[in-house]
Subunit: 311 residues, 2 copies
């Protein structure tokens, strides 16, 4: 039975592995398998839509959000299957956001994960619809009984994801990002922008395991604090990489923020201060996990990874 | 308390009114009030996003899908508040689909409900994000405890909507619609296309009350059969209006299907046969409701309205 196999394989390394890179790779493969199952090839006349959805969501990416969801789930004894389904839903949403973000009317990026972006590989209409379909797919997965036997948990997952990615979350942040081009944003404004644009979904990813495991409010708050710090660190490093990274490393076009006159943490803080700030946030993220003891070491390593990454 | 007021007002006319037009208007006002509450003006920096979401979802439309949800709810003693929230979620989704459908890369329509379409009034990026935000808002509303005290009902609503509007439903139908331009589709192909593109959401609208009221499988099947016939009749009449209607009546550009070389029920069946077919489907829709007796008269009138409408 493939489900049982996934369950066993996806939980093991998160508690046994010492090597974070291996754990990250392992998680990525585990969630990718779940995504393949949840988004199979279509033989219907609208197969092109499914091709585009698969093209942009499968076969690539660090799967960091999935990692947060899976690593968080191990803290609360959540089944690997349930965690992998939620992680897959999160990655489908992330893929949708990248597809729409890359559209000519938005960031107009031809390259994503080292390949043509969705609207270049297919066309704009297909890309818009693929993103729309991936969003719906994520909610469908969360609402299905396979995700959790308790419908209250499923409803809470749906609510959490919807709030994280809606107009008060990710979509609102993307609106701010577009409007902010050429504007002199303050550090407070850009922090809020990023908290919405990338922080909200990362925060949901970190808390998903606590929802699945019906954890205490205290545990959720600890994970929310971790997520807040990690999310901000993640964005600062994104801004650093946009300046320092190469196209080969990033798999996308570097230097775009500067070219578009976007205020970033780097333009506001400078390279050195931004790097220090990211490290400080990683420290804060780790401290937020104190109550979990060594069980949360993988999440601590993830916080370090976020700051040290080169892509 | 405004909620109790809505509850009383929105259920009364559906059981008391004889005048269908008045009931439809009343329902539209009732769901519109719910939508105003659920999507308030924003004072945040991303206010423009909320403006666009409100612009495209509030203050217009027949609210036929909302009517189906509210009229269906009265069959099962569902509270007016719950029904209005679900109806609002459905109308937010419908608005999102129109925004994305009107985009230059899709149907490229400058006019919607007699006003500039969202990307003309704002811009393409804002329109894409407004649609994305409206989809998330719909799921957020369904998952909130206010919609129903039983989380199993909420999860079922989310699942039903997600399936209706995802790649196996509305979005898949839109993909077929775009790919179908200039293609010689058969009557079977176009029926399937429309079942996905418009039928699936109409079907969910008709069944929403049964989900809220925890109705029997038999009752849900009856409503699904009604919805299937009404949805197809609705689309045939849409095709008729695209040929026969005026811009003033429709509030959108007529004649677009023909100009784009789209196969429609009218191009395949001819005007007279298409009109007959729509009437026949309305008859079938009414028959599907036999087990409900006169309690379902408003839904029967709705089937007649769908065929007789001029916009």
């Amino acid at each position: 039975m493939p489900r049982t196999a996934t369950q066993t394989r996806s939980t093991m390394p998160l508690t046994d592995h010492r090597d974070f890179d291996a754990a990250l790779r392992f998680t990525a493969e585990s969630v990718e398998r779940a995504m393949y199952r949840l988004l199979p090839v279509s033989k219907e006349p609208e197969a092109r839509l499914f091709e585009a959805m698969r093209y942009s969501s499968l076969g690539g990416g660090k799967r960091l959000r999935a990692f947060f969801a899976l690593a968080g789930s191990t803290l609360f004894g959540v089944s690997g299957l349930a965690a992998a389904r939620v992680a897959a839903a999160i990655e489908f949403v992330h893929a949708y956001s990248l597809i729409h973000d890359d559209l000519p009317a938005m960031d107009d990026d031809d390259l994503r994960r080292g390949r043509p972006s969705c609207h270049k590989q297919f066309d704009e209409a297909t890309a818009i619809l693929a993103g729309d379909g991936l969003q719906a797919l994520a909610f469908e997965i969360l609402a299905q009984p396979d995700t959790h036997g308790d419908p209250a948990v499923r409803a809470q997952l749906v609510l959490g994801l919807a709030q994280a990615i809606g107009a008060h979350g990710m979509v609102g942040g993307q609106m701010l990002d577009i409007e902010g081009e050429g504007q002199a944003l303050s550090i407070g404004e850009i922090t809020r922008l990023q908290r919405l644009k990338t922080g909200a979904l990362i925060s949901f990813s970190c808390q998903a395991g606590a929802i699945l495991g019906k954890a205490s409010e205290q545990a959720r708050h600890a994970l929310a604090a971790y997520a807040h710090a990690v999310g901000l660190a993640f964005q600062i490093v994104d801004d650093l990489l946009d300046v320092e990274g190469t196209q080969a490393e990033l798999g996308k076009t570097p230097g775009k923020d500067v070219a578009r006159g976007k205020a970033t943490f780097v333009t506001l803080l400078g390279l050195d201060h931004a790097r220090d700030q990211a490290s400080l946030l990683a420290d804060q993220a780790c401290e937020a996990l104190d109550s979990f003891g060594p069980r949360a070491d993988l999440l601590r390593q993830a916080a370090r990874f976020v700051v040290a990454r080169r892509a």
